[in-house]
């Protein structure tokens, strides 16, 4: 991170100086900064717990997710059903623990796809100008203009069976969903990164690096990119929420997981018509999505503060 400190050496110099004296490695230094961000640390714990819960929860709470019990329909939280039941009397806790694996995995993976693809395309377009920029922006505009629904139907029709055969039903569907959601959400990231690059590549510290003979890739990786991460992190957190919700709409097109797999977005959707007389049904999946988004955002903030020497805390 040495390169990026050039952005404003004065702002962080007083605090950074003693650290340098002790020759702390950048990684350790980042971790030290991250640890000071209490919310970020708490978030790591919370999301860790959530991941633990969805991975091992079904073992600790061994209730079948599709056990229909008509005598216990739309019940509020109780000891036998800690999060209540839905309109078929199925246990919401068990369903959320099971569905959470998919929701969290899809949300995180799709976010990574969107952010990585968007950053790469935006960075290439932003640094190269001319025809490469034009071509990549054409691609971005194309993806922005494509009507998603018909395209999704085309994708299902063309690739579903092929992928199922290639990677098995579960993995195949997962890859497809992540690719589809990520593939539809990278454009804002690309545009944002490109715009940041336009501005940053003319800044003094980049010029200085250029004058010192830094190669283009070094300019990008060491100097420009770290300074354009702000919007990328925001986009990443928004994308996690969007991907979890988008997954639920996909299963309505027959693209997602089979209809009986209770992902969070899907449980929330199923619950919406019962909102006035069984609010608990919507509350828990909604809360889970919110918590995931919240923690990922704080971790993002913490990472940024840790990696960016112009720290704000």
């Amino acid at each position: 991170m040495a390169g990026s400190t050039l952005a404003s050496p004065t702002a962080s110099a007083p605090r950074a100086a003693p650290d340098r004296a002790r020759h702390v490695s950048p990684g350790l230094e980042a971790w030290r900064r991250f640890r000071r961000h209490r919310l970020a640390v708490a978030s790591v714990v919370v999301i860790g717990l959530m991941i633990f819960a969805v991975l091992f929860g079904p073992i600790l709470w061994p209730v079948a997710i599709n056990e229909i019990d008509f005598t216990a329909r739309l019940q509020g939280p109780s000891w036998s059903h800690p999060l209540g039941t839905d309109d078929l009397g199925q246990d919401i806790l068990a369903r959320m623990l099971y569905g959470g694996r998919i929701s969290l995995a899809v949300g995180l993976a799709a976010m990574v796809v969107a952010v990585v693809v968007g950053t790469i395309i935006g960075a290439i377009a932003g640094i190269s100008r001319g025809s490469v920029d034009a071509a990549l922006m054409w691609l971005t505009d194309l993806f922005l203009a494509l009507p998603q629904l018909p395209l999704l139907l085309v994708i299902i029709y063309l690739f579903r069976d092929a992928l199922k055969e290639l990677a098995g039903p579960e993995v195949g569907v997962f890859v497809l969903i992540v690719a589809v959601i990520g593939g539809f959400r990278w454009m804002p990231v690309a545009r944002l990164v490109r715009a940041q690059f336009f501005s940053l590549r003319e800044k003094e510290f980049v010029e200085a690096a250029r004058a010192l003979g830094a190669s283009t890739s070094r300019q990008v990786v060491r100097h420009i990119l770290p300074n354009s991460l702000g919007p990328v992190i925001v986009a990443g957190t928004i994308d996690v929420a969007a991907a979890i919700i988008a997954e639920s709409t996909l299963s309505f097109l027959g693209l997602g997981f089979p209809p009986d797999i209770p992902t969070w977005g899907r449980v929330l959707y199923d619950a919406k018509d019962y909102l006035d007389f069984a609010p608990h049904w919507a509350l828990f999946p909604g809360g889970a999505i919110f918590l995931a988004v919240l923690t990922i955002n704080f971790i993002g903030d913490g990472l940024r503060d840790a990696l960016d020497p112009r720290k704000v805390m």
Binding site: A7, S8, T10, A11, R129, G130, A134, M137, W138, T140, D141, L142, L144, A145, L146, P147, L149, P150, L151, L153, V154, I156, Y157, L158, M187, P188, R191, L192, A195, Q196, F198, S199, E202, K203, G230, P231, V234, A235, T237, I238, A241, A242, I245, G265, L268, Y269, K272, L275, D276, A282, G286, I289, F290, A292, V293, L294, N297, R310, V312, M313
Partner: protein, 319 residues
């Protein structure tokens, strides 16, 4: 600069053509046809669906259909809806004003929330105000619009009975009452869209302002003894606007494209609901027309954003 603009304008035409080819191919490959309901009706002979397919040219090869569409479009003919059996431009023009009004207002609302809240939160990072606005923003984008819309309906229409939740494009009233009714019925959809949009924009604005607020020139401006307000507005915000301009430019085409889910919930007769019903009915000419205009807007606003970058940051060179 003008040379750059000219060059950009010149490549608009081939890029639009390219996009239209891709759009058309996707729509032509998409499964389904406009005659779903015929199938569910045993007394309509299957030949009827076949005859309709042939009549609308659905069985012709895709390149032939594309050439036909392009020729018509060049003559200003937007096509003919399979489902409604009227010209597409009639359908679009009926709905465009409602969409402009509802989506436009919601974008303005979003900006009016995002700019002040985002800037203020960034000038006081991790203050109480920042924490509260951040939490609200997270709620704003972790809840889908189908859910927040319903929540508002349950609260304001059903429990309190203050607002109607069925949007009517033409209200049989005149004068002030007409405006009043329009405002009343637009409140909830505009709020749902504006708040969701505002929530994510707030985060971007906050992050962008945070990126510049600790830079040297800001410190310099402060040390010159400028009022904090002047520093923020004149020195910080202008430099933080690049991501904001990018995002607004990304969202502007939606003013034409509409918001599918929200329009569906509140029954707003806008382009979004036209698009979704056309997609579900596989009414290709309508989908093609709407998405093509949408593509034109995407390209236009991208171009505008690129030009604005140069105005916001004069160091950006157009080469």
């Amino acid at each position: 600069m003008s040379q750059y603009l000219l060059r950009r304008l010149l490549i608009v035409v081939p890029s639009l053509l390219g996009i239209s080819v891709v759009l058309f191919t996707v729509l032509a490959l998409a499964p389904g046809d406009p005659f779903e309901e015929l199938a569910a009706n045993p007394s309509v002979p299957p030949e009827v669906a076949a005859a309709l397919r042939a009549k609308f040219g659905l069985d012709d090869p895709i390149p032939v259909r594309y050439a036909r569409w392009l020729l018509a479009m060049l003559q200003g003919n937007w096509g003919f809806s399979f489902v409604s059996r009227v010209d597409v431009d009639v359908l679009v023009l009926q709905r465009v004003w409602t969409t402009l009004f509802v989506i436009g207002s919601s974008q303005i609302l979003a900006l009016m929330i995002a700019l002040p809240v985002g800037v203020y939160a960034a000038t006081r990072p991790y203050s109480i105000f920042d924490q509260i606005s951040s939490t609200l923003a997270f709620i704003g984008f972790s809840l889908p619009t189908f859910f927040t819309g319903l929540l508002l309906i349950l609260l304001f229409s059903i429990t309190l009975d203050w607002l109607p939740f069925v949007y009517r494009a033409d209200i049989a009233a005149t004068g002030w009452r007409w405006y009043w009714e329009h405002v009343r019925q637009s409140l909830m959809p505009v709020a749902v869209l504006g708040l969701a949009q505002g929530a994510s924009w707030t985060r971007y604005v906050r992050s962008a302002v945070l990126d510049v607020i600790r830079l040297d020139y800001v410190t310099t401006a402060r040390s010159k003894g400028l009022a904090e307000r002047v520093v923020v507005v004149k020195h910080v915000v202008r430099n933080a606007l690049i991501p904001v301009v990018t995002l607004v430019a990304l969202q502007m085409p939606a003013i034409f494209g509409g918001a599918i889910v929200t329009e569906q919930i509140f029954r707003i007769p806008g382009i979004g609901s036209l698009l979704i019903s056309s997609i579900l009915a596989n009414d290709t000419p309508v989908i093609m027309a709407v998405t093509f205009v949408f593509a034109c807007l995407v390209i236009t606003f991208n171009l505008i954003a690129d030009i604005l970058y140069g105005w916001l940051d004069p160091r950006i060179a157009y080469r």
